[in-house]
């Protein structure tokens, strides 16, 4: 078929292979677009690959990120292009020509087998950039052990042959002739429909800045260096030590806001994440070295994300991380010990205190990566004064160039989940732009069908078990004695073959794994590594690649359940690992191949909530041709945003609401249900059924996905005379009054604002994220109308993160006075003979103050919507203790629920700004489209089945199932709907007649496993 003239190109270029780029690429690839994922370096991975663990869950960064890298590397719709840079972009959205330059790698990637001999023999040692120059690497190198693609490269600035035409040893010894000294720069063009920029960031602090003696004192390191120092794959193998003498540090200090919030360094903005990563690093330090003392010097703790304040609490009270609110001027060094000396003024003793630390970590601010400014100039993209490509309020991932989108830190400093959200939003924009060009594979395409090995226990063939043991860097190998373990396994008669890998989950290992399985004719596989929860799908894919049924594999978790918990006893840990593996082998022998069923998908979606997030999600899906049922419980669209006036940056959420409302109402793909709610819900991903009711009618609908955008609600204050004194108002009420009566502030002399009302307290632990900005915005508005008003803001930590910090500065310059208080000395508001009085204590001047304001404004926080509980029960979703919905994974799956096919956006997730809610809604919609754009869906084969001969229809299973999967069928016996069954195993355990079997967890398999565990172990 000849493509229509105007049909856009269904290919997309994503620049930057960090978490943002990877996520955007996957979100596009899964929705039928072809992605060129380009990275300047020799591997994708970005900064997240350098991190040790992530807050607030302390998940191992590599462990959660690696599966994504592997998925991208193996995705048929993604082409990873390393060493590539976008030079120029011609054309119009939908029809761009990208000019790409590929720098020579001097290693032929098709030939390289990553044997590492070149690096081993290479005589030239250079500081290792991946390890933040704390360690050394060779001039022939791989960027890091889990690099994707796992191919070596030569460093043209260091290689002796490339610089001086000497040596050439690598070329001589390379067994496959992959070294090519004559590689040249390649220039080529690609036709793409759109571009997503996710080029990431680097630390702003360099040795030239001289801040805190970085580059002068050896025991002063950056936060990223410290991340490498903590990491098992880092320069010190995860054993924390000082760079100067290798001793393990006892006292460690963090200094926050280095090259952040610093006008004198032309970095007046906040880098948003340093407060949290310092807390995380301190917590990890305390668990690495329980004897250590960790002190964080800071100005404001900016823990404005979901669960962050709780994490800080835990850091403080559970891990004894000490927080000192004081900005250090400079560091001094003790010449004998190379310890660092911190001098602070202590108000309690009215004197200067000297404290010595073995190690000081500088939490450096971020800046866009080197070369980004040039790229932006070439692409003609407008940047803010600090080099970031900030998105618009209503289009948070758009750049000044149509068809070019941005996500991640490049847009503004942000953490991983916000980056993932923006990546999804950028993918949604592209997907909308290019939706005509969406290409989907034929639904029953079956990869590797021709080399399927028909070997099952039934066929009577010999069972050949292969065991693969993972080092997980030093996570496992640092504790468990791998060689001993391996030889013990090899001696086991049930095992045909056993081998170990550094990182079994890395993309390159998958190929080797598949080859090994084929070569040794293995038909049962045991992976002794980490948790099946995170890694089972990955290895199942590899089995498929090897032509085996994916269910012929079992995992032994010798990391989480062994090496991590028995870190001190190698001998016992090794013995336990062997036991776990033996049990897995016993189970593996009894595994059976399972096949998935497929079913037709309903290509409509349900969106719950007609606020900013709900409308945005609905429009995003409708634009791409999917029908949406949009349900709003009130008679009005717009939700929380309707009540707002304008944002800190001067945008109007109500205006955005009106624009979205017009588009929602006129979109033929959206059916709008006002004054309505979902009263019943059943089914499973791709095939849900529900009933929408209002006062008069009821609609039975079917839908393939659900987006929960049920919003939030304002906290109703009862404190500070709110409700009993009309002079006490909320920020929203103040803003509304200002809008209605702009002259009103001319009558005012004195306004006091109180922050954190109803937030960050014993009953409601979290921060509402938006209140500091709301206060700053209203304070500026008051001062703009009447510069003579005394505006006083009483706060605990001022959380104007990112570029919002610039407005905090503006407010100060306009004369707004900020006083910090502590909860134990909370301000008191009272009426004195008709005069409103506020008494408070300032922590900076150490004075008690009284002020008699005309107006007291309370910064009341955001609370979860009241209906959340009902909705959670109906959709079977879990919530946080505060009542917000709980996402599948805080870092990497922020808009998904554990229940497949249901997605989350906006205030229902956590307090957030309007533009953040918009981005989140787009991201959630894009995840939903991954389902909606399919024709058919596969069920999980691990569902429970009822033996009709044994069932007595006692209803035990019907009652116990949390997912509503079993029902009593026409024959009067229980039947379980495979697509609904989550394989949780509750009904098989509950069934008194033992009529139910859970596929892949049969009695036979489990008993074999238990017996193996009870067997005596021989070494």
């Amino acid at each position: 078929m000849i493509p229509l003239k105007n049909k856009p190109v269904g290919k997309v270029m994503v620049i930057g292979g960090g978490i943002g780029g990877i996520q955007a690429a996957l979100d596009l690839a899964d929705t039928g677009f072809y992605v060129y994922l380009a990275d300047k370096s020799h591997s994708v991975g970005g900064t997240m690959a350098q991190l040790d663990k992530t807050f607030p869950t302390n998940d191992c960064s590599t462990c959660i990120f690696s599966p994504k890298l592997v998925e991208a590397a193996g995705h048929p719709n993604i082409r990873i292009m390393t060493s590539c840079e976008l030079m120029n972009l011609d054309g119009v959205p939908g029809h761009f020509t990208a000019h790409v330059r590929r720098m020579p790698r001097y290693i032929n990637m098709d030939k390289c087998i990553a044997c590492g001999q070149c690096a081993e023999k290479c005589p030239k040692k250079v500081p290792d950039a991946f390890n933040t120059e704390l360690g050394m690497r060779k001039a022939a190198y791989i960027p890091f052990p889990q690099a994707v693609p796992l191919k070596y490269a030569l460093d043209p600035d260091q290689c002796l042959y490339l610089t001086k035409k000497k040596c050439g040893l690598c070329k001589k010894i390379c067994p496959v002739g992959a070294v090519e000294f004559d590689q040249k720069v390649e220039n080529f063009t690609l036709e793409v429909g759109a571009v997503i920029l996710s080029a990431g960031f680097e630390l702003a602090l360099t040795k030239e800045h001289g801040e805190y003696g970085f580059g002068r004192y050896r025991n002063v390191v950056t936060s990223l260096q410290y991340e490498r120092m903590l990491s098992a794959t880092g320069p010190y193998g995860g054993h924390l030590q000082r760079p100067s003498d290798g001793k393990s540090p006892k006292r460690i200090a963090w200094i926050q806001c280095v090259m952040s919030r610093d006008i004198s360094k032309n970095r007046p903005f906040c880098s948003s994440v340093c407060c949290m990563h310092a807390a995380k690093q301190a917590v990890l330090t305390r668990s690495h070295l329980p004897e250590s003392e960790t002190v964080i010097y800071f100005m404001d703790i900016r823990a404005h994300g979901k669960g962050f304040d709780e994490y800080i609490e835990r850091a403080t009270f559970q891990h004894q991380v000490q927080y000192k609110r004081s900005m250090i001027s400079q560091l001094y060094v003790n010449p004998q010990s190379e310890n660092l000396v911190v001098e602070t003024f202590d108000h309690h003793i009215n004197g200067t205190v000297e404290e010595e630390y073995d190690l000081v970590v500088l939490s450096s601010g971020f800046q866009p990566s080197k070369g980004w400014k040039n790229l932006a100039d070439r692409l003609n993209i407008h940047l803010n004064p600090y080099g970031f490509a900030c998105g618009d309020f209503d289009e948070p991932v758009s750049t000044s160039r149509p068809g070019v989108y941005v996500c991640g830190v490049l847009e503004s400093p942000k953490d991983i989940p916000e980056t993932v959200i923006q990546a999804g939003a950028a993918a949604a924009e592209v997907s909308g732009l290019l939706s005509e060009a969406r290409m989907l594979p034929a639904p029953d395409e079956n990869q590797g069908a021709d080399n399927q090995i028909e070997e099952t226990p039934e066929t009577g063939q010999e069972i050949r078990v292969g065991v693969f043991v993972c080092h997980c860097g030093s996570n496992i190998a640092g504790v468990v004695d791998i060689p001993t373990l391996l030889s013990a396994i090899q001696r086991n008669n049930d095992v045909t073959f056993a081998q170990d890998f550094m990182f079994t989950c890395s993309a390159e290992t998958q190929d080797r794994l598949a080859q090994t399985i084929k070569a040794h004719h293995l038909n049962r596989v045991v992976i002794a590594a980490c948790s099946p929860k995170t890694h089972e799908p990955l290895f199942q894919k590899t089995l498929e690649q090897a032509g085996l049924n994916p269910y012929l594999m079992d995992m032994a978790n010798i990391r989480n359940q062994c090496s991590w918990v028995h870190g001190k006893d190698t001998k016992k840990a090794t013995a336990k690992a062997l036991e776990l593996i033996k049990a897995a082998v016993a189970r593996a022998k009894n595994l059976e191949p399972l096949e998935a069923d497929t079913y037709k998908i309903v290509n409509d979606s349900l969106v719950i909530g007609g606020g900013l997030a709900g409308m945005t999600a609905a429009l995003t899906m409708a634009k791409q041709g999917f029908h949406v049922h949009l349900v709003e419980k009130t008679g009005q669209l717009g939700g929380f945003a309707v009540k707002l006036t304008h944002t800190l940056e001067g945008h109007s959420p109500p205006k955005l609401v009106r624009m979205l409302e017009d588009r929602v109402r006129s979109n033929p793909n959206i059916t709008l249900y006002l004054n309505s709610e979902l009263s019943e819900h059943s089914g499973y991903i791709g095939a849900f059924n529900g009933i929408i009711i209002n006062a008069e009618t009821r609609h039975e609908i079917s839908y393939g996905t659900v987006v929960v955008a049920s919003g939030g609600t304002a906290y109703q204050a009862g404190e500070f005379r709110y409700g009993q004194d009309e002079r006490v108002v909320t920020q929203v009420e103040l803003a509304e009054r200002l809008r209605r009566d702009p002259q009103w502030p001319r009558q005012l002399k004195n306004v006091v604002m109180i922050q954190c009302v109803g937030s960050r307290n014993e009953t409601f632990a979290y921060c509402s994220r938006v209140c500091c900005s709301a206060a700053v915005k209203n304070a500026i508005a008051l001062k703009d109308i009447n510069p003579d008003i005394q505006v006083v803001i009483l706060y605990r930590d001022l959380r104007t993160f990112g570029f919002k910090e610039l407005y905090y500065l503006e407010a100060r310059r306009k004369g707004v006075l900020f006083f910090r208080f502590i909860p134990d000395e909370a301000p008191v508001v009272y009426d004195d003979h008709g005069q409103l009085v506020v008494d408070f204590t300032d922590r900076s001047s150490h004075q008690e103050f009284r002020i008699t304001p005309d107006i007291v404004t309370l910064s009341t926080g955001i609370r979860p919507a009241l209906d959340n509980e009902k909705l959670a029960r109906l959709l079977k979703l879990s919530r946080t203790p505060e009542g917000f919905f709980m996402e599948a994974h805080v870092k990497l799956r922020p808009v998904e629920f554990p229940t497949a096919g249901i997605f989350l956006a906006g205030l229902a997730h956590s307090p957030r700004f309007a533009d953040e809610a918009v981005a989140m809604a787009k991201c959630a919609a894009q995840q939903a489209i991954k389902v909606l754009c399919q024709d058919k869906m596969k069920t999980s084969p691990t569902y429970a089945v009822v033996d009709p001969d044994l069932c007595t229809a006692c209803l035990a299973c019907v009652r116990i199932c949390p997912f509503g999967a079993p029902f009593i069928n026409k024959e009067g016996i229980s039947e379980i709907v495979p697509a609904k069954c989550q394989g949780c195993g509750m009904c098989p355990s509950e069934c008194p007649a033992r009529a139910i079997t859970l596929r892949h967890s049969t009695d036979q398999q489990t008993v074999a496993e238990i017996n193996a565990l009870l067997d005596k172990i021989e070494f």
Partner: protein, 279 residues
């Protein structure tokens, strides 16, 4: 090459030895110092404490005189350097009624920075007759020469290098320490000896801890404060030299008499003899 030399008041009195060593050193270099005729006091701390305007205008006479000479100014005293530089910056804002004509065409060097230029360091190395081998020095810059960086132009204000470079050129061992630019107390001792004592003794102790056998300075007030405070019991005895005294010693070698150091309160004789630098 000629430079307009602005010695400042202290070099006529307390820091007379500084001036003598400067004269001796520049005798040997290709640079001639031409003293600004009839120079007047820069105003020091007192002038700006009383009045900003006074502080801006007082150095103007000297700036104008140097401009008339058509020479760049070099100042051996940190405070003079700071006041001259500040004054010029403020005068050029054209908001003051200045009695003398200042156009800002001449450069102002503090003496260390002039001498630490690469070509001067080369010259210094050539002139060294007796390298100060084995002498362990810390360089002390004080405040006024390096701060505020926007006035002084020292971007490495926490870790300045000019004195260190000169010390190395003389063959001495220049030790890094963190207190290069930590205040010695300046003239606070006039009214609050306790403060000056605490600040200065702390520096002596830190220098001792860093392994220094001597301190080199370029500021008369710093020299005086650090030198004087060592009278106290229990203090380590660390001679405090003007850096030009060390240059002179290296340039003149055996010809340099111990008498040149007679104005020091903390006697440097023992150290210099121990190191074989004087007889």
């Amino acid at each position: 090459m000629n430079l307009a030399f602005y010695p400042g008041c202290s070099l006529e009195g307390m820091a007379n030895d500084y001036e003598r060593s400067i004269t001796a050193v520049f005798d040997k270099l290709d640079v001639k110092l031409v003293e600004i005729d009839d120079w007047t006091c820069c105003g020091a701390t007192a002038a700006h404490s009383l009045s900003e305007t006074m502080a801006v205008l007082l150095p103007a006479k000297n700036l104008a005189a140097a401009e008339k000479m058509g020479l760049d100014i070099v100042s051996p005293c940190a405070n003079c350097f700071n006041r001259l530089t500040y004054s010029r910056k403020m005068i050029l804002k054209n908001i003051y009624d200045v009695p003398w004509k200042v156009t800002g065409k001449t450069k102002i060097y503090d003496m260390t920075r002039f001498l630490a230029q690469p070509h001067m360091i080369d010259q210094i190395k050539q002139k060294v007759l007796m390298p100060l081998e084995g002498l362990r020095l810390v360089s002390y810059y004080g405040c006024q020469m390096v701060r505020p960086p926007k006035i002084t132009g020292f971007t490495d204000y926490e870790n300045p290098q000019t004195l260190d470079k000169i010390a190395v050129a003389l063959g001495a061992i220049s030790l890094d320490w963190s207190y290069k630019a930590t205040c010695c107390g300046a003239s606070i001792g006039i009214g609050r000896r306790d403060i000056q004592f605490n600040l200065s003794t702390r520096l002596i102790k830190k220098a001792h801890q860093a392994g220094a056998e001597a301190i080199i300075v370029s500021c008369p007030l710093c020299q005086s404060n650090l030198d004087m405070v060592q009278n106290e019991k229990g203090m380590p005895k660390i001679p405090v030299f003007y850096f030009t005294e060390m240059m002179r010693l290296a340039f003149e070698g055996e010809k340099c008499s111990i008498q040149n150091f007679r104005m020091h309160l903390t006697d440097p004789g023992r150290l210099l003899r121990e190191k074989g630098l004087v007889k």
